[in-house]
């Protein structure tokens, strides 16, 4: 099993030609000017597809957008996180104005207030009207923008579900306000905060104070991670922080690994298939978007069902495989597998043979089916 789960399988995706970044000027009536927007859609994005992708908004998109899309493309390639629609906003010439907050009450004011509204009332509705995005939204910022993104938390219904704050230059009072607010959030919220040993000293100190304060929050809906990177500065912490943040946010989303297999799948009282069902239901409930059952998980469940001799689980699994992957060898393979283990060799061979004309998958190739057929015919 270990070997199966860890086997290094290369996902063949030759249609990467549409993975280009879309550069768009966005005319904002709130701001009274045009803003440069960068959009990265998932590989093989299909507008006709009903699938809804999480939306990642990247502030300071001038320099934060590229490392973000690089990470999202990579991590989602391996199924470590879902494919996402990523939108960056260029701010190099306006960032001081955009992130302006009142120097007495410490909330966005003037241009800062306009930018706050632009994001929530113009940009996001526009992206929603153009692309298939879910309501699971992540916001990412660095330095000034990492402070600004916190303001979205103070709405009754916060615009974002996950906040990624790299070395924020915190406004006065922010620490107290965040502690108070995050203590009583009523939906699951993710909060990622990072600094570094060689960060700007002033920032480093206030961030580490904020961490001390947030660490004491006792609210099961508040999901928090903090990193203080060694031998890293204000800028180099970003490259290390992005994967940590994504892994934290999408922890529940990940494919079944060897620990989960041993500690949860094998001993689930209602059987491996029911475990799978529950896992995917939980994902949907938690993130608000559906996850397509991945082949890795089908394999894990099949393997567990075989190991504990749960035929019913295997039968359910073959039905699921057929439903999820009707045109792939996957559907034929798991149906064949069920009949093979159920002792119905003739049916098993038929199913395996029926798969020969279907599409190969990441794990199942023509040779695998042929091997099965020869094996059973002997």
């Amino acid at each position: 099993m270990k070997k199966i789960i860890y086997s290094f399988i290369l996902i063949v995706s030759l249609q990467f030609l549409n993975a280009q970044v879309i550069y768009e000027p966005f005319e904002s009536s709130k701001l009274g000017e045009t803003r440069e927007i960068k959009i990265q859609l998932p590989r093989n994005y299909d507008p006709e597809d009903k699938f809804e992708y999480p939306l990642i908004i990247v502030l300071d998109g001038d320099y934060l957008f590229e490392p973000m899309i690089g990470n999202v493309d990579y991590q989602s390639y391996w199924g470590e996180m879902p494919k996402c629609v990523v939108v960056g906003i260029n701010q190099s010439s306006s960032r001081e104005d955009d992130f302006f907050y009142d120097k007495e009450i410490y909330f966005p004011a003037h241009n800062g207030a306009l930018f706050f509204e632009f994001l929530g009332k113009e940009l996001i509705p526009y992206i929603e009207s153009m692309y298939n995005v879910s309501e699971f939204r992540i916001v990412v910022g660095h330095d000034l923008s990492a402070n600004f993104l916190n303001f979205y938390l103070f709405k009754t219904l916060p615009l974002f579900r996950a906040y990624v704050s790299f070395s924020p230059e915190l406004a006065p009072e922010m620490q107290n306000r965040l502690h108070e607010r995050l203590s009583d959030v009523t939906t699951d919220m993710f909060y990622y905060l990072a600094t570094a040993e060689n960060d700007v000293k002033k920032l480093h100190n206030s961030i580490s104070e904020l961490n001390t304060s947030l660490s004491t929050i006792d609210n099961p809906l508040f999901h928090y991670r903090y990193d203080n990177f060694e031998d890293t500065n204000h800028y180099s912490l970003v490259g290390l922080g992005i994967p940590k943040a994504m892994n934290q946010i999408f922890e529940l989303y990940k494919p079944i690994n060897i620990n989960e297999y041993k500690e949860k799948v094998l001993i689930y009282p209602e059987g491996p298939y029911k475990y799978l069902e529950k896992k995917y239901k939980d994902i949907e409930g938690f993130y608000g978007f559906k996850k397509k059952v991945v082949e890795n998980d089908l394999r894990a469940i099949a393997s567990a069902s075989k190991k504990i001799g749960d035929m019913e689980s295997l039968r359910e699994l073959s039905k699921l495989a057929k439903k999820e992957y009707p045109n792939s060898m996957i559907s034929a393979y798991y149906q064949g597998l069920y009949h093979e283990y159920n002792g119905n060799i003739k049916k098993a061979i038929n199913y395996y043979q029926s798969g020969l004309l279907l599409d190969e998958s990441d794990y199942i190739e023509k040779d695998d089916l042929l091997d099965k057929i020869y094996e059973l015919k002997e």
Partner: protein
């Protein structure tokens, strides 16, 4: 040009906006097939310019190219690393053939050897012929491609100067041979090796073993870095490792920072212009690129000179700045400062006035110079009256 590249035929797939990724097909005689490449040129790349760029070759470009592009774009934005040309090789199903190697030596044989020759004799010459490349090349490999990139080190003059090994699946006794090879290395090589605590177990073990041996290598030509990422697996560790690897490889390219100023500049024996020239020369020797000394860097070094009460350095830096950029007022300004400090008031006034005529740069406050000139003039006049 075409004649020189008789064995290659490249087809342009799509080339849209600058800074986008270009997809190309390259026909290989060695492999007797075409291969798909992904190429990312630096922002505002100008083929007519004399500026040279390091080349970063990404194996398993199917999935590894995009995160490299993202990380390089970020670090280039802050000028932490030089503008580089990134080439990804799409390997998909050919991967198993490309990595085919001898069970004992772990070195490429048959289809693996042909892939090696494709890289060394076709791909790199093609890139060098078509783009402004410097002699500094970086190879990036993950898993079995991590094993593969090591084979380039066994040549007398290695094709790559930096190796980023991401959780490499070392084959045979390649890792032990590698260690003895690195003992005798004559050319400068950067070697970065990474694993993680949730890595595939046998890979984690062999990487640790290799790390222990590499730590014993005593060769000045080798710069070696190792990371073990906590809480990451074989896949999730990759992007953080890329960030660290670039950070380390291009460490001396970075703008002068606090640490270097404190540890190296402040304590430097000799005048600080020499330090800066040597630093620049080291960057040129290593990466094959000329990196201008920025005004911020000059300013920082001048501050250190003042801190050391080192007037000689101030004068030499002034001369250096004037020599490197005669159009700028910076050097003249420092020379004026020097003249003022040693009490040559008249000369100082002249130089300040000369600086004002030259191209004024952002951080020198014009008003400040003017008021300085005024006050110096009074001082000069006072002296004259006393005379």
């Amino acid at each position: 040009m075409k004649k020189a590249l008789f064995f290659l035929y490249a087809l342009l797939f799509s080339c849209t906006v600058i800074a986008q990724i270009t997809y190309k097909k390259i026909e290989s005689k060695k492999l007797n097939t075409t291969r798909q490449l992904k190429i990312k040129l630096p922002k505002n790349y100008d083929p007519e310019s004399n500026l040279k760029h390091p080349v970063i070759v990404v194996f398993d470009g199917d999935y590894l190219f995009e995160p490299v592009v993202g990380q390089v774009a970020f670090q280039t934005y802050f000028d932490e690393i030089p503008k580089s040309i990134i080439v990804g090789i799409v390997q998909s199903k050919d991967r198993n053939y490309d990595t085919f190697c001898d069970e004992v030596s772990g070195l490429p044989i048959e289809t693996g050897a042909r892939f090696y020759e494709f890289i060394a004799q076709e791909l790199i010459p093609y890139i060098d012929n078509n783009y402004n490349t410097s002699k500094f090349r970086v190879a990036i490999g993950h898993n079995t491609m991590g094993n593969f990139i090591n084979s380039f080190l066994f040549k007398a003059e290695p094709l790559f100067q930096a190796y980023i090994n991401l959780s490499p699946d070392f084959k045979g006794n390649l890792n032990t041979n590698l260690v003895s090879r690195l003992e005798w290395l004559k050319n400068d090589v950067f070697y970065y090796l990474a694993t993680c605590d949730k890595d595939i177990k046998y890979i984690n073990e062999i990487v640790h073993e290799t790390n222990a041996q590499l730590n014993t290598v005593n060769n000045k030509s080798l710069t070696y870095y190792f990371d073990e990422f906590k809480g990451d697996n074989h896949y999730t560790m990759v992007t953080g490792a890329l960030s660290n690897a670039f950070d380390k490889i291009f460490e001396i390219y970075k703008p002068l920072d606090e640490k270097e100023l404190k540890e190296k500049v402040l304590t430097y024996e000799g005048t600080l212009d020499v330090y800066m020239v040597k630093r620049q020369k080291r960057i040129e020797d290593l990466f094959g690129i000329y990196k201008p000394i920025t005004e911020e860097e000059f300013e920082k070094v001048v501050n250190i000179a003042e801190q050391r009460e080192d007037l000689e350095s101030l004068q030499q830096i002034g001369k250096l700045a004037s020599k490197l950029d005669p159009e700028s007022s910076l050097g003249t300004y420092y020379l004026a400062l020097y003249a003022e400090k040693i009490g040559k008031t008249k000369k100082a006034v002249k130089l300040y006035e000369l600086a004002l005529e030259l191209d004024m740069k952002s951080f020198i406050d014009r008003e400040m110079i003017l008021s300085r000139v005024e006050s110096l003039k009074y001082v000069a006049e006072d002296y004259q009256e006393e005379d």
